[in-house]
Symmetry: C2
Subunit: 393 residues, 2 copies
């Protein structure tokens, strides 16, 4: 496996015979201080030593650019790296190139995703501990795999962690077109749960509604429509037992008004930056509604390797294997074009994923093991002019 | 026991021999439509038949005038009587005069309080089902006894039902000088829990603070002081695990800001009528705080006769027996002077309790069994000019 590495990446770390060992050079997107990613991010090259003990050396294949990653660089996210400079990004899918002598359950050639958040994923090679990564099937779609660890897990936990939802039950969510929101609709559809999505009113609301409904949403309404809807009569929906709030502000209050008695609203983000109001009557006292929060970063830290997490990952991987999960549209950008991605990202809802393989002169396992996928350069899903290599479904 | 009744209250219900039985005439404060108590309440007299089956006939001795009772008459409380006219009031302490032939565990002469809420307590005699009342010790203080069933239970449930509080833990509450609030401070003191009370800023705040601290509050602050206090440093308080909200509005937000990580705020009333704001960050997501409601009426309906309720009542009665509970100051008003009570109540925090015995020419058990209590008329706790009969501690 080692031989797959481009020989130019091997270096001598030292002339001291005791330290004499081969290294691999990784190219990382780092930031030295908090600020706008487009200003702060820069590429550096570093040598990585061979993995020792329980370490594994990973070739990163795909790494998404999540809003959370951007907020961390901006310094406005609750999690901050312990030291700067730090490597950006959190999620990735990678291939194991080499394992330390104490690694028990992983081998060269395994396809893995991180179990821990915020390890730094915008880098071409990486050392991690065996316990920090999770082996996935080799034929997994790289795009799905790269987002399963945080966004898909968040959607899964939001639906499983608070209310015992049975087929036929309903949920309501704002930010229905967000990455987590889209996955929530998909999981609901898979599990027979009816989902009511709320999006901000906008010129292309009709198109967005159709896209969300195709993903699995039972109904999608704009924030202007939600308070006067007859959706329960016309769609035979039960009042939602669970409301998922990622916006705060009035859109949070809108979905809370739809909650069933004894329902719970879980807030997992507050992208509007605004608080929301709740009242004693009828919400808290008469209707016994509860309001709580969820933070996927903390959940993963606290449940690393737990039966909960293993069961969830196994179930998600099974959905991945059987093509029942579909990543929301995401544009693949070659790693070296990262500036373009961040420039485009500003002020748009577009999601990007960095392709960390394009400047290597070898084909990585994600591609090699999917012989039906035409390799090489092809145009992107979005009809973009720029010609880039794309993952396909 | 029957013979204790004033002979003028005995009547013949019917000349039909099958219905020939003695009745007692009760004098009740009823309302025929919703509105201000002072306008709507009127006294009527009705005959009550002998108790049958599992019924008990009760001589009501004391019945408080709670804000909840007033809200019900105003028609603004979540609970509404099923039919009008209805008898006002909910809490009382009474003596059993006669029992139906199927009554198992109660006897004539027993002192009882209601287990069920809103039975109608502003009446001199009453029929109730055996399961709706709870026997208390005969030497109980009537004033304590009359408020234990709703207000004291509410305080108890708020402290026991949501967080596992251990001695040394802290709670925070607004409306600290309310009836429930005062009892919360007392129970906290008894159980070794530190309590931080918040009151509205007012000219007599200093006096009120001292009174609350004498009751058991660790610290009492005004809403102006709460946000800049160094109370945790100076009083070695831990951050509160539990916040009790009965106001809503900004005072709710103030106490929420003091909640510890993973703390819970329970809203049991919203006397300001205003909602309160909560934010995704830091409250819900980073600090994992939860917001929920509690309604004593519903709790009692759902837990009537449950081990929970029996355990609670036993514990409260034990505190009552050992004089560890003290009712917040309350003015005793003769039943016939009810208009005076409601006129005084408007715009004041004064609490009243109706004395239903004063126009009877017998002494009831609450007095008779406490030989150390001087009977007859004496001035009230508050140095009121009007000379009224008062319960004493």
């Amino acid at each position: 496996m080692w031989s797959l590495l481009n020989s130019k990446t091997f270096k001598t770390l030292s002339t001291n015979p005791r330290l004499w060992r081969r290294t691999v050079t990784t190219k990382s997107l780092i930031y030295r201080k908090f600020g706008q990613p487009i200003n702060e991010l820069q590429i550096i090259e570093e040598d990585i030593p061979n993995p020792i003990d329980k370490q594994v050396l990973i070739k990163i294949l795909r790494a998404p650019v999540n809003p959370m990653d951007v907020s961390i660089i901006q310094g406005i996210y609750p999690f901050r790296p312990k030291i700067l400079p730090a490597i950006g990004g959190g999620e990735f899918v990678g291939e194991i190139l080499k394992v330390g002598e104490l690694v028990m359950n992983l081998n060269e050639g395994d396809l893995i995703i991180p179990l821990r958040m915020h390890l730094g994923s915008w880098t071409t090679y990486k050392l991690a501990e065996e316990e920090e990564v999770y082996k996935i099937p080799k034929y997994s779609d790289l795009k799905e795999a790269a987002t399963i660890g945080a966004n898909t897990c968040a959607a899964y936990r939001l639906l499983k962690g608070f209310v015992n939802l049975k087929p036929g039950d309903s949920i309501i969510q704002n930010g229905a077109n967000g990455f987590v929101g889209q996955t929530v609709h998909k999981l609901c559809k898979l599990w027979g749960i009816k989902s009511l999505g709320v999006i901000r009113d906008r010129p292309d609301a009709g198109v967005l509604k159709l896209a969300m409904e195709r993903l699995g949403a039972t109904v999608v309404l704009t924030d202007k429509e939600i308070d006067t809807t007859d959706v329960y009569e016309t769609n035979c929906l039960l009042k939602p037992k669970l409301a998922l709030n990622c916006t705060g502000g009035e859109m949070a209050e809108s979905i809370a008004r739809h909650l069933d008695k004894c329902g719970i609203m879980v807030t997992y983000a507050g992208v509007s930056g605004k608080p929301f109001k709740i009242s004693a009557l009828p919400s808290l006292i008469l209707n016994e509604q509860r309001f709580t929060g969820f933070w996927i970063t903390k959940w993963i830290e606290e449940n690393l390797g737990s039966p909960h997490q293993v069961r969830m990952m196994n179930e998600l991987i099974r959905l991945l294997e059987t093509n029942q999960l579909e990543t929301p549209p995401v544009e693949i950008i070659p790693f070296d074009d990262f500036k373009e991605a961040f420039a485009k990202r500003d002020g748009s809802c577009k999601r990007f994923m960095l392709d960390m393989t394009v400047d290597e002169d070898v084909k990585w396992i994600g591609e090699r093991l999917r012989p039906l996928v035409p390799l090489g350069h092809c145009s992107n899903f979005g009809g973009k002019k720029a010609v880039k290599k794309s993952d396909k479904k």
